[in-house]
């Protein structure tokens, strides 16, 4: 057996298949979203996670229900992995009242208070200070669980990133920073934005342990997240994981991608996290073609149902426009 096959045996067939199914679910959900976008059912911005699925799926293996999750505007995967029902996520993308945020936020603003999913922040890096505050509240009130915060490499350009890293480390907060480094902030490559491109090094500069891991390898992503989460749960202060990954598609739905070459994209596509994992599963004899196809059909059906639900769901009545601007205002 190869080392990779040994790893697979160690995690067990059931868990491995679950990871694969989760990644496929995100991929197929977003494939459907893109289709609905082209059909004009979804408008505005739609930031797809295509290519980065192993990061969310791996990381969420280390996150438990009592934890809080803060994410950014490329957060369909995180909401789904958090257990937000597909119907609510899809309905939100379509701007329907049954959506996670009554349709008011759309793709970038998924929120679910009951599941400790704090969204949905679409100004780069602004979720980090909020995560610091959530972690501070946990520490001060003795509430169990940790806070996990997802953000991209673009966030590490911002002053808020540095301020938040410093506060979390200074106050030894139960906070896990999960950086999805897909090498681009919209169309500007990391190397064109930062003098020091080693992101984990920045975290170490604030005195917190930091790991860098291959974000295309779901088992590696899971292992790193688990290790870091465990340290945070021990009360040792914040930890940082950098997942090295890549977004296969445009920043939002369409852009001419003048900022990167086809070859670069193709070389990363060759490291598609779903294909890589499925292939290693079949090499290890854990997954047959027929089984994989059946899994795919099953997920497609689930996603179709969600799309149908969202399409048929009513929009919020216009008379509710001013509702919830402030507590108790307009009903």
């Amino acid at each position: 057996m190869t080392p990779a096959e040994e790893d697979l045996k160690a995690v067990g067939r059931e868990h491995a298949l679950d990871l694969l199914r989760r990644m496929m679910r995100i991929r197929i959900f977003e494939r459907k979203s893109a289709e609905l976008y082209s059909a004009g059912k979804i408008r505005g911005f739609l930031h797809l996670y295509d290519g980065e699925e192993a990061v969310a799926v791996g990381a969420f293996q280390a996150i438990v229900p009592e934890d809080a999750v803060v994410a950014n505007y490329r957060e369909h995967a995180h909401a789904i992995e958090r257990g937000v029902p597909l119907n609510s996520v899809m309905a939100e993308l379509l701007g329907k009242a049954a959506g996670t945020s009554r349709g008011r936020g759309g793709s970038m603003h998924l929120f679910d208070a009951a599941r400790g999913f704090y969204g949905g922040f679409a100004i780069v890096a602004e979720g980090l200070p909020v995560a610091v505050g959530l972690a501070l509240a946990r520490k001060m009130s003795g509430k169990p669980g940790i806070v996990t915060c997802f953000f991209g490499d673009g966030a590490t350009d911002e002053g808020e990133f540095h301020e938040a890293m410093n506060l979390a480390a200074l106050w030894k907060l139960p906070l896990l920073f999960l950086c999805e480094n897909n090498l681009y902030a919209m169309g500007t490559a990391l190397s064109r934005r930062q003098a020091q491109t080693d992101i984990a090094l920045k975290a170490r500069g604030y005195g917190m342990p930091a790991l860098s891991v291959d974000g295309q390898d779901v088992l590696a992503a899971e292992a790193a997240a688990r290790r870091a989460a465990l340290a945070v749960r021990r009360g040792e202060g914040p930890c940082f994981v950098e997942f090295r990954t890549y977004r296969f598609r445009a920043h939002s739905m369409y852009d001419p991608q003048l900022y990167r070459g086809r070859e670069e994209v193709e070389s990363w596509r060759a490291r598609d996290p779903i294909t890589l994992f499925a292939e290693s599963l079949s090499r290890a004899g854990l997954l047959g073609d027929a089984e994989r196809q059946a899994m795919e059909r099953e997920i497609e059906l689930e996603i179709e149902k969600a799309a149908c639900f969202a399409d048929g769901a009513p929009v919020e009545p216009e008379e509710d426009l001013l509702k919830d601007v402030a507590a108790g205002e307009a009903g």
């Binding site: 945020s101 200070p129 610091v132 505050g133 972690a135 009130s141 808020e160 938040a164 506060l167 601007v325």
Partner: protein
Amino acid sequence: MKYREAVRAGLREALRSDPRVFLMGEDVGRYGGSYACSLGLLEEFGPERIRDTPLSESAFVGAGIGAALGGMKPIVEVMTVNFSLLALDPIVNVAATIRHMSGGQFGVPLVIRMATGAGRQVAAQHSHSFEGWYAHVPGLKVVSPSTVADARGMLLAALREADPTIIFEHAALYPMEGGPVPDNMAVDLSRAAVRRAGKDATILAFGANLWKALSAAEELAREGVEAEVVDLRVLRPLDDDTILSSVRKTRHAVVVDEAWRSFGFSAELSARIMEGAFRDLAAPVARVCSAEVPIPYPKHLEDAALPQPGAIVAAVLATIGSGTAIAHGRV
């Protein structure tokens, strides 16, 4: 009791009565607050609840939002409104939007205190008044205590709000002596207050400028003009009823605002009076605002830039016009 002692009394009372309350900001702890509002509180409540922060306005305001989302009742002190511009993103894009944007799932019961205003020769980067910028934003509550009783009472009332509330303390008021303030005195956080009754003209002011308006009213009284002085107290939402009923009675309105005239709070107030009491007005609404310059350092220029009682007197007399002036033998 001085104004700053009243703020301190309010802080102490809040910290004693609710374990979720904590104070966070630059130099609130060991230094005792840059305006000495929190002097002695560190000794009584400890560094967890009287929390000194780094000079990271964006991060500690964002963390205040996160802590509020996490069930705490934070009071964030921003040293001056001028510095709060570094925290505009969390205030405007997160605290003010999240209730509506999340479909009513999340509220931010956060109190932000900041000093505002000029008059102490601290020049153009420590003297401006941006209350109107914040009052522009749906989802925020904006208040400005001008009396010692309100300095204590409005803080306690703000802590009972379910939404982000910004308290503007005019820096010139901190040393003001205002007599005793009973512990159990509750204040209303929705209404303006008529601080002096009159029948000839309404002067609308808030914060430190209330006292300039009252001094102008004194002088006017010696001239036989009875000005009514309304302390706005709550800038958002504005108490239209109190404002309009006074203007309907006096038929003349003079707005005093330490911010610049152009596109500002005074313009909004003037427009509201026009919309709500046009037919009751005997003259156009007059405005006394700061000169359209960055506030300069030397005393004579600073004085010249700011609204002064003399200018308020002149504006009232000009507004009520020749009829009244003739009656009092001034022409």
